[in-house]
């Protein structure tokens, strides 16, 4: 298929960017979206032009590196996928596709489609852990039974890949789904109880400091999340925060 691409090009964080039009031809429907961009870039390199910079690494939907806003949706029109798992069969011959970086004040653009998501790391530094040293003498793993349901729900929250689609998609650029997932994982497990109150307070405070917006419960994040992280995690975080503040 042949496509027209409208892509955000920005030299570096201090430059002004703009949308630029490109054409790609002979795209196979079996290609992933990133392989389509590879084809575009190969053409650009051959012409001596600078290829479009974009973040990507594992290309199997787990590293959370890819961060494209395609036709007005984070990771494009498919559900439950990252950009690397979005396939060209989702598009039609002759389509025009708009490709932008994830946008949020807390995610400044580094170049083209590459954004800086270190705000997520700093939120985790503020409390995204259980304070246990590596001694090798921790108690036996089976000494605290954890109900299957709690373990599974914690796991569902823990599958977050930190890609930032929730922030990109949210009309408020809120990071509540990301932070809610992390808070939930530990809140659901007995190991996480000791530090629960400080954890949620510190992580939420850091989230606000980073300049993310507030949650108005539009639910867009849950729909666009490639891992299907549930809105329940946001409610759980709200609950944890209230508990911690009282």
């Amino acid at each position: 298929m042949n496509l027209t691409l409208k892509i955000w090009r920005q030299k570096d964080s201090s430059s002004k960017g703009q949308m630029v039009d490109y054409k790609v031809t002979e795209i196979s429907e079996h290609m992933s979206f990133l392989e389509m961009i590879d084809v575009l870039n190969e053409g650009l390199v051959a012409k001596g032009e600078e290829p479009v910079a974009f973040d990507h690494d594992c290309r199997e939907g787990i590293c959370g590196m890819c961060s494209m806003y395609i036709n007005g949706e984070a990771h494009g029109p498919d559900r439950g996928v990252t950009t690397c798992q979005l396939h060209m069969r989702m598009f039609k011959d002759g389509d025009t596709i708009t490709i932008e970086p994830f946008r949020a004040a807390a995610f400044p653009v580094i170049k083209d489609l590459v954004v800086d998501r270190s705000a997520f790391d700093r939120i985790q530094h503020a409390g995204g852990y259980i304070s246990v040293n590596t001694s090798g003498n921790t108690q036996d793993a089976n000494s605290i039974p954890i109900s299957k349901q709690a373990a599974d729900t914690a796991m569902d929250a823990a599958t977050c890949i930190g890609c930032g689609a929730c922030v990109a998609t949210c009309k408020n650029s809120s990071a509540m789904l990301f932070v809610g997932a992390k808070v939930s994982q530990y809140a659901l497990l007995p190991q996480g109880q000791v530090e629960a109150a400080d954890r949620v307070k510190n992580m939420v405070a850091q989230m606000d400091l980073e300049g993310f917006g507030n949650c108005t419960n539009t639910g867009a994040c849950e729909v666009e999340c490639p891992k299907g992280i549930s809105l329940d995690n946001i409610a759980r975080m709200n609950r944890e925060l209230m508990k911690a503040s009282i």
Binding site: D12, V39, R59, E60, K111, S147, L189
Partner: protein, 665 residues
């Protein structure tokens, strides 16, 4: 220099404990004055960084990704082995040790493997304490599954995302130390050289991938945890950015590179679909617990399926060849990876491949739908369930176990694997070879350590499933933090290492020169052009089976390709900016050297062992033929061109295991 593995004396089960008891320690007040650089933040590097920082060392950690959480350990799906014997099925430290040595085709160092098995149980305890949500059964206790090449259930898992959960565990431990200021994190940085001062590793030269700035970083020890070099094949299941650069740079500065030809080709990957493909996708080996692998018995059926006139589900049981069950009745579909991969290649080479490229076999879950469905019907008290009901109940169970993998398959291939068998084909996945290290995990450069997939130590010629995560975390959490102290104990009076020395100056200039060459060369071919060519040579001639003639050709071709690369490579953009093509150029340059050493190593290893299969050395039944005279580690010393590399042999002795024919029949 003669190789000294520094394996401690004494009975194997006491070696590690006795050694730890007598090792030099650094007192807490002195640790504050010692810096350690860790390159790579996957399971090995991440766990090592966190633990070293907890101990009190000042850690500088480097990752080329934008966060440690994105290292490719995250993509490991199936699980992590540990000799916990929670299932009461006869597992023990010795059995895990035995399985790993046998699985590695008797080409790994006995003492290292035993230590790995010994600390494996601690890993699970540690990870649970960190809040890793491993799968549990209804009683609230940890669940296990079985993996290839073993007869017990010792694999712990977190759905199909075990690597992700373990990495996030290590990352959370790092976060705690970053918050305390004990780890200084350098994201989007790539190490481009190691700096050796007075014979000791004292720092690195790194490039800031955002600004292009070349930075000097000093430390009292350098730890390389940069993963494997599977991307030398261009197409592999590795992440796009995975590279050998850190390992190769230390090799060029004096670290021996061991067994480069030992590569694991993983049997359950999604087949290649076209030339545009940028990478291959693996599906967990755990699928082989419930899936049966087959190709049609008759070539007419193969033809009909390729033409689309027949569907795989049209073939009766009699018309199918379950070749693993046929050839290896004892282990069946759960033979080790090298055996399963080679068997798939054998069938496809014979013309039985089931897709258009002729490189695919079926992985069929129909039987397990029925098996699980019947069981569920009993549990739920459904009398005389219909076939459809049984299938539905069975699919529910399979969905709960592997739902994410089935979904991934459907997204990529656009076929519903619940209705038609999956197609799979082997793909490059893991490299057992790597930088040579002694028992302390130190390379032949004093003060330079290498851990995780980047080193060669524990898996011999073939790695068993769910052992990579185990090794990465064992090295990082429980081995290196002890052994590095033995070396650093002599450094308590050294003080801060200056970066304003001639050694740093020279290393930085070399790095800058190379970068300037790339951006100024203005050649005719892109970096990917060379990478793809190299990958094709590697796959065709150093792939699942190798022969002397092919390997000789490969050496010539890679050497010529490298020459061409250094004349005609084209890198757009500048040096002092975000430049992905420039970063790739440096990585491919190193792959072009490694690839040749790889072929040379494969040529000189005149036997078949594990992932290294030489066509000249096979049994009449087509199994790998191992030779006693090659019972050694090949450690290569850099001498300029790869062809000039000097071979050092570390003999392998087995005192606690009888070296037998490795049979899974």
């Amino acid at each position: 220099m003669a190789l000294n593995s520094k394996v401690p004396k004494g009975p194997i089960k006491d070696k590690w404990t006795d050694y730890k008891n007598k090792i030099n320690l650094v007192n807490p007040a002195n640790k504050r004055h010692i810096d350690v650089i860790v390159v790579g933040t996957g399971l090995a590097g991440g766990s090592a960084s966190a633990t070293l920082a907890e101990l009190g060392y000042n850690v500088k950690a480097f990752a080329y990704q934008d966060s440690p959480r994105r290292a490719h350990s995250i993509a490991a799906q199936g699980g992590i082995n540990a000799a916990k014997n929670y299932q009461g099925d006869g597992d023990s430290t010795y059995r895990l040790f035995y399985d790993t040595v046998k699985g590695g085709d008797y080409r790994s160092r006995e003492a290292n493997v035993y230590r790995l098995a010994e600390v494996s149980a601690n890993i699970i305890d540690q990870c649970v304490a960190q809040g890793v949500p491993f799968a549990r059964d209804y009683g609230g206790l940890l669940d296990n599954r079985s993996f290839g090449g073993v007869l017990v259930s010792r694999t712990f898992y977190a759905k199909g995302q075990t690597g992700q959960q373990l990495l996030l565990g290590a990352y959370s431990a790092m976060n705690r130390q970053i918050a305390r200021g004990k780890i200084e994190m350098f994201n989007r940085h790539e190490m481009l050289d190691v700096v050796v001062v007075d014979g000791k590793a004292r720092g690195i030269i790194a490039r800031n991938l955002v600004t292009g700035e070349i930075e000097r970083h000093s430390a009292h020890a350098v730890v390389i945890a940069s993963g494997g070099y599977g991307n030398v094949y261009f197409l592999s299941t590795n992440a796009m950015g995975s590279n050998v650069t850190a390992g190769w740079k230390i090799h060029k500065k004096g670290a021996y590179f061991a067994n480069p030809c030992y590569t694991q080709i993983h049997p359950t990957c999604i087949p290649r679909s076209g030339d545009y493909q940028s990478k291959l996708t693996l599906m967990s080996e755990s699928l082989r617990n419930d899936g049966r692998i087959w190709v049609p018995k008759n070539l007419e059926d193969v033809k009909a399926i390729r033409e689309g006139s027949k569907k795989p589900t049209d073939l009766s049981e009699d018309e199918r060849d379950y070749y693993l069950e046929r050839r290896y009745p004892a282990f069946g579909n759960l033979v080790p990876r090298d055996v399963a991969s080679r068997a798939a290649k054998e069938r496809c080479d014979a013309g039985y491949g089931v897709n258009a490229t002729g490189e695919a076999v079926y992985l069929d879950f129909a039987a397990s739908f029925i098996r699980y469905g019947t069981e569920q019907a009993k549990i739920q008290g459904i009398n005389n369930p219909s076939d459809a009901k049984i299938k539905e109940l069975g699919q529910e169970i399979v969905r709960a176990k592997y739902g994410n993998l089935f979904q991934m398959y459907e997204k990529i291939v656009d076929e519903n694997p619940y209705e038609t068998p999956m197609m799979i084909y082997p793909a490059v996945h893991y490299t057992m070879g790597g930088v040579w290290v002694d028992y302390n995990l130190m390379t032949t450069i004093p003060g330079c350590y290498c851990i995780g997939e980047a080193n060669f130590s524990d898996h011999g010629a073939n790695r068993l499933g769910a052992s990579a995560l185990m090794q990465g975390l064992a090295d990082g959490y429980f081995v290196l933090p002890y052994t590095i102290g033995d070396y650093l104990a002599d450094d308590i009076r050294t003080g801060k290492i200056s970066t304003e020395t001639p050694e740093f100056e020279v290393a930085e200039n070399e790095v800058k020169e190379r970068i300037n060459f790339f951006v100024n060369n203005k050649g005719t071919h892109s970096v990917d052009y060379y990478h793809k060519k190299l990958g094709k040579i590697m796959w065709d001639k150093c792939g699942m089976s190798r022969n002397a003639a092919g390997l000789k050709e490969a050496i010539e071709e890679i050497s010529a390709l490298r020459k061409d690369f250094w004349q005609n490579v084209s890198v757009p953009g500048g040096a002092n900016e975000y430049n992905e093509e420039l970063a790739k150029a440096g990585r491919v340059a190193d792959f072009l050297e490694l690839g040749e050493l790889f072929a040379k190593d494969a040529l000189e290893r005149e036997e078949s062992a594990g992932g290294h299969f030489r066509e000249e050395y096979q049994t009449p039944e087509g199994e790998a033929k191992r030779l006693k005279e090659f019972q050694f580690v090949s450690a290569w010393e850099y001498k300029g061109e790869p062809k000039d590399a000097i071979l050092h042999k570390e003999p392998l002795e087995y005192e606690n295991i009888e070296v037998k024919e490795r049979s899974y029949k």
